[in-house]
């Protein structure tokens, strides 16, 4: 096993704990935006896609890379934009409390 792989596994395991910590604090109210937002983040494969598409060897490898860029970009742009569309609809109640005259 190479050292790079060992480091990668370390990062993977530690990131799991960070993920559990951060995500469990998100209230059910925001679970749909969480899903679409985290979904957009999973579009990070764009990084790998860009490298694959830009290697300049030509041939199948680059074509596959280009399609990967298209896929990952749909994921990224679609994900962040639709999340923003949802989140801007969430508003707190206007100042007048509803049960003040109860």
């Amino acid at each position: 096993m190479t050292e790079t792989l060992m480091v990668s596994i370390y990062i993977f395991v530690l990131a799991t704990f960070v993920g559990v910590e951060v995500i469990s604090k998100v209230p059910p109210l925001l679970h749909t935006p969480l899903m679409s937002g985290s979904n957009a983040i999973s579009g990070i494969t764009i990084v790998g896609s860009l490298i694959a598409a830009g290697e300049g060897h030509g041939g199948l490898s680059v074509i596959l890379g280009m399609v990967a860029v298209v896929f990952a970009m749909i994921n990224v742009v679609g994900g962040f934009m639709v999340t923003d569309r949802m989140l801007k609809m969430f508003k707190k109640q206007s100042p007048k409390p509803p049960d003040s005259n109860k």
Binding site: A15, T32, L34, I41, G43, L60, G65, D84, K102
Partner: protein, 466 residues
Amino acid sequence: MNVITALAYLLASVLFIVSLKMLSSPKTARQGNLLGALAMLIAIVVTLLDQRILDFTYILIGLLIGSALGLIMAKNVQMTGMPQMVGVLNGFGGGASTLVAFSEYLRLSGDTSLTVWTNTSVTMDVLITIVLSLLIGTVTFVGSMVASSKLQGIMKSAPILYPMQKQTNTAMLLAVIVMGVFFVLDPSKWFLLVLIIGVSIILGVTSVIPIGGADMPVVISLMNSYSGLAGAMTGFVISNNVLIIAGTLVGTSGIILTKIMCKAMNRSLANVLFAGVGADYAAGTTTSETRTVIRYTPDDAAYMLENAQSVIIVPGYGLAVAQAQHVLQELASMLASQGALVRYAIHPVAGRMPGHMNVLLAEANEPYDLLMEMDQINDDFQNTDVALVIGANDVVNPAARTKKESPLYGMPILNVDQARTVMVVKRSLNPGFAGEDNDLFYDKKTMMVFGDAKTVVTGIVQLLKK
């Protein structure tokens, strides 16, 4: 990788974590999402500056097409169609992972025409992660597309079952593993990778079709997790930490949401994935005795609501189907202005994905502090004058508490039956997704108002205006 690139990727990783952290409150959530987008932009720009990139033609074409398609989808999707949208987006993420892994294999082969494998320096772990990337990425891509077609109604939403289903799926998974082992031992056998992709495609279809429409939210959450894992695997393939971190965050997020959904339905994940609930149950339960319900008109409902001090509204997906959120919001604020305490009780599986109902009500301008979670409000039903159930069924079915043979048994439900009066607006007496008849509708204190949710609520609003 030089230091600046590495640090920029680290910055992106940190921003992703902060962005998810900010999603824990509706006040900061929007900035959080924008921060996530910024992190992504940083990662993309840094990658473009990488010396390994020699030709930008294909990159630009890809970026333009992908962004345009993403933009069109995000602008046009209906809020009711959000689960399908997330499913499709997941699918593309998974598909990208597959493509990157295969492309990386071609690059590593040293000869992209695949006639010879000239590279001897590739280590085993890279080969293993390539196989895993292909498997997870492809299953995510195909599975998500099937799940989305079921939700969109392109495919029949009922579970599709056939003999030996579980066994054939297991066999296919084993086949992938065996082929993977042979490939790792001899990486020149590229056709094994093609076969692995082929079997993964079939597996993506056969693992999702036995799952019924009502359980699709769980599948979408699970696919969300897979797409993250696929990203993390790609990170292993190309030794890139930002992919591993971001992918893992998404992977855990999907698993947590899947767990929450399963708990809310009181089912194990295995049960959701393999049981095919809803396929065979409905036939057995239709009892021959005909019970009668008491029908009421919108006039009765309006009178009842006008005199109520406290109202809890229980919205279900039927509300969204009828597009009645906006007029319901009007009714709620009208009742509130007359002095009644009006709140919403949101079941964790209301709608078609976790938190879906909240988004639909937010779209109708309902402030989020009126939207209560099940645990927050369940004890308040007993002190409530009217529980108004609109387009919901299974989540208020008392059979979940009492009827052991019901598929709903054990599911946490909203204690609607404890309210002084229950008002149910529904199109018909048809059972919900689980196929279980609802005793609540036959209760003496239940007022059934039949009709389209929008028509009925609009009627009530007009009567109250007088």
